[in-house]
């Protein structure tokens, strides 16, 4: 792991039009190259909003974001070249096949010809989708769609990968395949920023996590540090519940 942060966030604030409270409230983060960084929090805590700002989907109300040493406000085109995004929703065309979807998204990242074809074949193989690659996505199971959704975000081999709950609603088999391949990608140098409600998964997958609640980072560190630093907590879920309390959220 390098000491130089690949993502530097300072006092990031986002207040949506008409909202009385900020969705993200003064978040400051440093994510280093080759980290698997988990952004954890209850519903409505500000995880997706933070990731959306980092990806350039939302503009920040205040604060500063630097990605790969460049200010995100003025260098969005460069940033879009080096990031991959796997949204929480299956953001794919249901009437197209997996191969057609990947051909399209790959081309949007500038991939073409044999290079694109080989990458699609490789990832479809890796994720066990090669046999159904030419079937329409609407005929896929939830887990298969999740895997294609992930491939669309990693096809161009980005430096930084943003994953918004990539394993939500999938079976154990699909989840294991996804996590294993993400670990492989991380080993090859990809920085991963990941949000999840799945604490056990985050505990084993992330090198470092931050717990966010009401738009603020309440704690940050490796899972081991957080568990040992909170008395009586045996795992990350205990830490999470201890810090965010048990009250239900909207």
């Amino acid at each position: 792991m390098s000491d130089k942060p690949i993502i530097q966030v300072e006092s990031l604030t986002k207040t949506f039009e008409g909202a009385d409270k900020p969705a993200v409230d003064g978040v400051t983060l440093s994510i280093h190259k080759n980290e698997i960084f988990g952004l954890l929090g209850p519903n409505g805590a500000g995880k997706t909003t933070t990731i959306s700002i980092l990806c350039g989907l939302y503009s920040a109300s205040n604060g500063k974001v630097e990605i790969d040493g460049k200010n995100s406000k003025n260098n969005i085109d460069h940033i879009k070249q080096i990031i991959g995004v796997v949204p929480q929703d299956i953001a794919l065309y249901q009437t197209l096949s997996a191969r057609e979807n990947l051909n399209f998204y790959g081309a949007m990242y500038g991939l073409q010809g044999k290079d694109l074809k080989n990458k699609i074949e490789l990832w479809l193989n890796n994720f066990g989708l090669i046999e159904s690659a030419d079937k329409r996505l609407s005929t896929y199971s939830g887990g298969m769609k999740r895997r294609v959704n992930l491939i669309a975000g990693i096809l161009h081999n980005p430096k930084i990968l943003f994953l918004d709950e990539p394993t939500v609603g999938v079976d154990v088999q699909s989840r294991n395949v996804i996590i294993e391949h993400l670990k492989e990608l991380n080993k090859s140098g990809m920085t991963i920023i990941y949000t999840s409600h799945h604490m056990e998964e985050a505990e084993h997958f992330c090198s470092r996590v931050a717990i966010i609640d009401y738009g603020k980072i309440i704690v940050e560190g490796s899972p081991k540090e957080l568990i040992s630093g909170n008395a009586g907590c045996r795992n990350l879920e205990d830490v999470f519940l201890h810090l965010t309390k048990r009250a239900l959220r909207d």
């Binding site: 350039g56 989907l57 085109d77 929703d89 953001a91 065309y93 051909n103 399209f104 081309a107 949007m108």
Partner: protein
Amino acid sequence: MIKLLAAIKKEALILLRDRVGLAVLFLMPMILIFVMTLIQDSAFKSLNERGIPIIFVDNDKDSLGISIELGLRNSGMCTFNNMIDGKPATAEMIEKAVSDGKFLVGIVVPKGATEAIRSNVKVLVQQTLGVSDSLQKPTDSVEIAIYIDPITKKSFLTSVTSSLREFISEIKTKIMFQTFSEQISELIPDKNNAPENAFSQSQIIKYKEVYASKQIGEIVPNAVQHNVPAWAIFAMFFIVLPLAGSMVKEKSEGSVLRLQTVPTSYLVFLNGKIIVYIAVCLIQLALMLSVGKIFLPMLGLPTLVIGNSILGIILLSVSTAFAATGYGVMMGTIAKTEQQGAIMGSLSVLLLSAIGGVWVPTYVMPELMRDISIVSPLNWALNGFYELFLRGGGIVDVVGDSLKLICFFIFTMVVSLIVNRYKRKV
């Protein structure tokens, strides 16, 4: 370029797999052309007052009967018939045939009509020249019977009766001159000096009806000439449904969100859509024109005449396709849900088409509606096609309408980009 090609391919695949959308784009307008043309065919015939079926019975078999028959045959205002169901028409058959709706007008010239005119004129001439007994009286007048279907337009009936009066007057004048000639010849022994019956040989003043068209030959506005371009334009604008629908679907399914994170301009996606849907519009138009050229004549309808300017047709078609696609993109950008897009899109196109003269031609609309019609881009396109198909215009004659359509496309694009920027500004 690679990105644009990928966007075009993606859009084309999505469209090709939307069977309902394709049916709306291609089948629906073809059916509309068939149905509307068949429905409006008789209305247009009546409107043009040409080809209205007339049944004629000539019991006179003399100058008047022959003159009326020739006049009706050559007038071009009607379809002349003297047979009913393959049998020679008789005075007894004619009333029933008209009341059954087989003919709009029936005319019976009675036996001895010419002879009655002749004897009356002779009495009048002889009395004028003082060569006969002044107490000699004209014979009773003859009656030409006209049977009329109640749906016949009054203007057409007026022109038929006017024509009959004209034929009778002409024949009376002719007989009068003949009688005068004969009587004068008897009074003047030197027949070489007798006035020649030259009047009947020539018609001093003639009429010629010419439709103001640059086309060689006359193209009369008929149901085919109106309905084929009108419904083709309607179909082109109806792409608003699948186009706006696909755009809203992209938003709701999250594809747009992912597309915002890729290093490709929004315009590339938009251009991909625009190119595919412009191609769809042009295919639609080609299909509709082929319906007018090939299939409608098979149903006994007139063949579509497309004029002489292929370049004009290309310019106008491409401009219309741009305008229609731009409208679809604008609706897709503004609409928040698929239902909203479908309702807004279809209702607005129906309204614009009604205003624009697709359903009913603007030239039969009240003046107020004609004034309103100029706001509809469908009207600009239709006017352009009238210019090419009816008035025989060339590319220069449709530049104005094409420019309006292109300006409309630019307007829709500007609105779409502004709305899109506003919506993305989160």
